[in-house]
């Protein structure tokens, strides 16, 4: 079985257009009594198979932008289109179903359920999507093997190292073969060596066909991306295709 068949392969996008498009998106949120203008007038296009890093100082709106891309948060203004469909108009049920089947999330703090084993954590989104037990077991084993943890399937998160937990979280994000994986500071809780291993896994994922958008402070992780989007004060200030060149500057 090929790697791309394990992770789901490249998604079909109608008419060969962008997988994701943001059109003049704005998002504010309240922090205490203060209104924070987290994202200001951002317009972007993300094509299938891209490997994108979003970089910028803390509080520049990276995580909010990921939440908008992932249909977790609706924009105050503008539109977010996934495969040509305006996700900002979806109700909660539709947005939840979209996140379940078409978007994979990886968090800084892994956020695995501590009471479940590695395999059960991976099976969770599949169970929610109605995948049968046998197929879930088969696919979770394949995904664990893909992230290099075939022998850790019965371990619970507290029994795994940080790097191993993040790899399980990546496998969970891939469970329903999403069109895109969004990762928010995925190496933020890891030491340099483990962070490099996770960065390498992301690079492999992208080579095998997964569209990746990673918000990060980690230069090494960002250097693996083919496109780097720089943000400051909620706005995109630079969007560079050649990552190596971009990070070198």
């Amino acid at each position: 079985m090929s790697a791309s068949s394990v992770i789901g392969g490249l998604p079909n996008v109608d008419g060969g257009g962008p997988l994701l498009r943001l059109e003049n998106v704005e998002r504010d949120y309240m922090m205490g009594s203060e209104t924070v203008r987290a994202v200001r007038g951002v317009s972007l296009e993300i094509r299938a198979g891209e490997h994108i890093a979003i970089v910028g100082p803390s509080g520049c709106g990276k995580s909010t932008l990921l939440n908008l891309l992932g249909a977790i948060d609706p924009p105050d203004e503008g539109r977010v289109l996934l495969g040509g469909r305006d996700v900002s108009r979806l109700n909660d049920r539709e947005a939840t179903a979209l996140r379940l089947r078409r978007i994979g999330f990886v968090f800084q703090r892994f956020h695995l359920l501590p009471a479940l084993t590695a395999r059960e954590n991976i099976e969770l989104p599949m169970a929610e999507a109605g995948v049968g037990a046998r197929e879930r077991a088969l696919r979770s084993r394949e995904l664990l093997a893909y992230v290099g943890l075939a022998d850790r399937d019965r371990h619970r998160p507290p029994q795994l190292s940080g790097g191993e937990q993040q790899r399980v979280a990546i496998a969970r994000a891939l469970a329903n073969a999403p069109a895109i994986v969004l990762a928010d500071e995925p190496t933020g809780e890891l030491d340099a060596r483990t962070g490099a291993e996770v960065a390498s896994l992301f690079a492999r994922l992208n080579r095998d066909g997964t569209t990746l958008v990673i918000a990060t402070h980690d230069e090494e992780l960002a250097s693996g991306a083919k496109r780097v989007i720089h943000m400051r004060d909620g706005a995109v200030v630079r969007d560079e295709i050649d990552a190596t060149a971009a990070m070198a500057r």
Partner: protein, 395 residues
């Protein structure tokens, strides 16, 4: 997977879950006991009255059976009059009185005596021996035999109709104890004997001749009891006839405060159970707000989160209810023993009567309470703002 998540949550905090289950068990036990108490006395009274199949009682006009010492004269004529109704199958006269047994150690044992027609009586159940057949035979309960130092088969001297002015008995004689019985309507520790009604009438002298305190009446199957009752009162204006339904209504009236107390205490215990589970599940949900936000972010539906939390709540409630059922039965049995020993109560009356319907009712209320208790925390867990919660968790 849902069950796995629920069990992981419950077993992940064993001490908390155990305390919650125990709390619900106590609440459920109290609720079950209150449900049993609210129906126990009237149900056991109904069973007692219906036990021997006599649906009607006729007592002296304006009195309840054995409520006073009043008796009805010309009992034979009353029996004949009652029998005129084609719906009446059996009339069993009962005369209550006091008899005295001189004791070998001196003095006399004074005790209640019931004069009955042994062939159709509904006042006692034989525990050993046989019914009395003639005027010189009696049956006695265990308490009397113990106090008189007698056994079945012994002969005793008996006297009746004591006149305090003349300081003498109307009659005395020897009687044979033919059987040991349990009186259905008498208090647990009350010593008593039963004998043919003619024998007790004779022992009472002229004042008791052809008199009865009560007539127990059995109607034919399918008879309209109310019509039979009114027919008796028309034929024999000297008596008040009451049906079991009327008697139960009177009992219900007397027990209404008792029942209200049981309902209030039951409602309080149910409310305590709901609040306990709601509090613990809310604490559990609050601890896992970040977890729920992540679940929602990765595409787990609100309905799944609601199901998970409500199933946790229902599981605690169900486990507590099962334990509470056992605890409730044990405490009810213990309390029943204490309450039933109150003087003057018939042995057959139970304060706490286990009825499957009552248990189902209590379990149904607890199940509904479990759902109710989980509603608020489930909604809270499912409706949290995902992006904001993730932001706060990250901070």
């Amino acid at each position: 997977m849902l069950l796995r998540l629920v069990s992981a949550s419950l077993f992940g905090h064993r001490a908390r879950t155990l305390l919650a289950v125990l709390g619900v068990a106590v609440s459920a036990a109290l609720l079950l006991d209150m449900v049993m108490l609210s129906t126990g006395m009237s149900e056991s009274f109904r069973a007692l009255l219906l036990g021997r199949g006599f649906q009607l009682r006729a007592s002296p006009k304006g009195t309840l059976p054995f409520d006073t010492e009043a008796t009805i004269a010309d009992a034979s004529a009353v029996i004949a009059a009652i029998h005129q109704s084609p719906d009446v199958e059996v009339v069993s006269p009962v005369l209550g009185g006091t008899v005295h047994f001189p004791l070998a150690r001196g003095g006399a044992l004074s005790t209640l005596a019931l004069g009955v027609d042994p062939a159709v009586q509904g006042d006692y159940a034989l525990e050993g021996g046989r019914d009395p057949r003639g005027d010189h035979e009696i049956v006695a309960n265990r308490e009397l035999l113990a106090r008189a130092g007698a056994r079945v088969g012994d002969s005793l001297t008996v006297a009746g109709g004591y006149d305090p002015q003349l300081r003498r008995f109307a009659a005395t004689g020897r009687v044979l104890v033919t059987g040991q019985v349990r009186f259905l309507y008498l208090a647990r520790d009350q010593a008593a004997v039963a004998m043919p009604i003619a024998a007790l009438q004779s022992l009472g002298g002229e004042r008791r001749r052809d008199r009865a305190s009560l007539f127990m009446i059995r109607a034919r199957d399918g008879a309209d009891i109310e019509r039979v009752r009114s027919g008796i009162e028309q034929r024999v204006p000297r008596v008040t006839a009451i049906s079991i339904a009327t008697a139960l209504a009177q009992v219900e009236e007397r027990l209404s405060y008792f029942r209200q107390l049981a309902v209030i205490l039951g409602a309080v215990s149910l409310a305590v159970g709901v609040l306990l589970v709601a509090t613990l599940v809310t604490v559990s949900v609050n601890e896992r707000i970040g977890e729920f936000a992540v679940l929602r972010a990765i595409g787990v539906a609100r309905s799944s989160v609601i199901k998970q939390v409500m199933l946790e709540s229902a599981t605690i409630m169900a486990a507590g209810s099962m334990l509470g059922l056992v605890l409730g039965l044990v405490t009810a049995r213990y309390l029943n023993t204490i309450l039933s020993s109150f003087p003057g109560l018939p042995e057959a009356i139970d304060f706490f009567l286990f009825q499957p319907r009552a248990a189902w009712m209590a379990l149904g209320m607890l199940a509904a309470a479990g759902v109710l208790a989980g509603l608020w925390p489930a909604w809270r867990g499912a409706s949290l703002p995902v992006a904001r919660t993730l932001r706060e968790e990250a901070a």
